[in-house]
Amino acid sequence: MANERNRVYAWEFPIRFTHWINVICIVALSVTGFYVGNPFMYAVSSKQYIMGWMRLIHFIAAYAFLMSMIIRIYWAFMGNKYACYTVWFPFSGKKLGEFFDALKFYLFLSKKPPYTVGHHALAGFTYLIVYLLFVFEIVSGFALYSVNHKGAIWQALGGWLVGIMALPIIRLYHDLVMYVLIAFTLIHVYFSWYSDSREKNGLMLSIFNGYKFITGKESDI
């Protein structure tokens, strides 16, 4: 079958760009965020500025992450059909069938991979949850930031949450969701590799160059 393959340009530049910005930001935010919650390094001299630097990196990465999120949402309306926001809401009858087919494939209950060029229904729904978690991290993060950065912009980005939730509770969930996102990252990388190895569609490479190979069985070309 290999010689019959065609390429489809699935992931446009903004999708790949925001994906890798997210990777960098999530790594930076997790490491520095973990330090802010549990300072694991101790300064020997008062001239050091460890917590100061950790917080600075955390805040810069937070702004980059917010910008990446804005670009991705913009592209959900402007990009191709694989980037379209509709893939996050797979609630039609056909899509729900695809959702359970994919679930069965991952749980070894079926040997038939969910052949799609873009996200299959299970992946689309997972990204909906992940984006909601991203939004929670951004809002709760800016809520914590707003306590000593008074201004309308920070009030709008997250300050409104203070008062609805007490500050220690916001901190708790901001911390817990980080672990959920780390767990997601493990699953995400593993199943990307697993799907690639079963579907042989160049999935792992597609996030670098944007192209996916099609086998002719895809339902969404």
């Binding site: 500050l167 220690p168 079963r198």
Partner: protein, 362 residues
Amino acid sequence: MNFSDDALHKIAESMEPLSQKGVSRRDFMKFCATMAAILALPASFIPKIAEAISGKKPYLVWLEFQDCAGNTEALLRATKPTAAKIILDILSVDYHETIMAPAGHQAEKSLMDVVKNQKGNYLVVVEGSIPMKDGGVYCCISGKSAVDIAKEVCGNALATIAVGTCAAYGGIPAANPNPTGAVGVKEAVPNATVINLPGCPVNVENITACVVHFLTFGSLPNTDKFGRPYFAYGKRIHDNCERRAHFDAGQFVRQWGDEAHRQGWCLYEMGCKGPETFKNCPTVKYNEGTSWPVQAGHGCIGCAEPNFWDTMTPFYRRLPSVPGVSIETTADKVGAGLVAATAAGILIHGIGRALSPKKEEE
């Protein structure tokens, strides 16, 4: 400070009634300057404050409900003839259960006299929370429930100052499971004009500054969304903390009594709630500027925040406990467990993949 002759004349005039009571001119000026500083007013307001607080003598009643009298203690702990003495001299305190001379019907009559005769003109200080459950039976004074007293006294007052976290938000009596249905004054009497001065106890300087602001400008100071005046609760403890430099450097106390603790490093890891708490403790301090918890080597417990007993605990840990799991389990243990479980799941899935046939069923 240089004042005009006119201003000095005014001060001299306003001093007369107080000097007869043993408050020296120097003490009085220090008091006025302190009040201007706490309220973040320029020095030109000092003569205005001096004039305002020596002219009128507003009526004030002090009510105690579900409380420990800790705020009264804080008020009476003044060691020098400053804040407390002056405030007691410039106010006509007509009812205060802990310190008043009359008792029984006589005492209740003096309270009702103020409510009737000075309707809409007197100030109320409330200390302690108000129980609402079962018709308010859990706190009754002279046959009346706290909520009925509060509705009558605070409802007819010019303004109510809720001192301490209990009067402001329910405080410790309102902590989960809140058996008496305790609430703060504003919740019990929604139509009253209330300013909240939470803290456990309240800082006397802040009560005094509120009253002085009221006497000087004829209005209560501006408040945040929790009803707390900005002059005292506008800044976060963490941002004004004397140990903040150790936080930024990365120097933390890891155990009580360790070398870092003896060096006075940051108490962040010991669960200090300074980053979550808004109050002027680091600058105004307690007991006439003697000290405050962090200076004494103990972390902040966030006592000035609504529901602090439920949201700021455990006091000696950075984050609250994760709901639904054992109280000894920290958020990071839960998170690490989640990640470990995911990794284990992936490993099992990988083994399953290795064992299952490679070919796809057509």
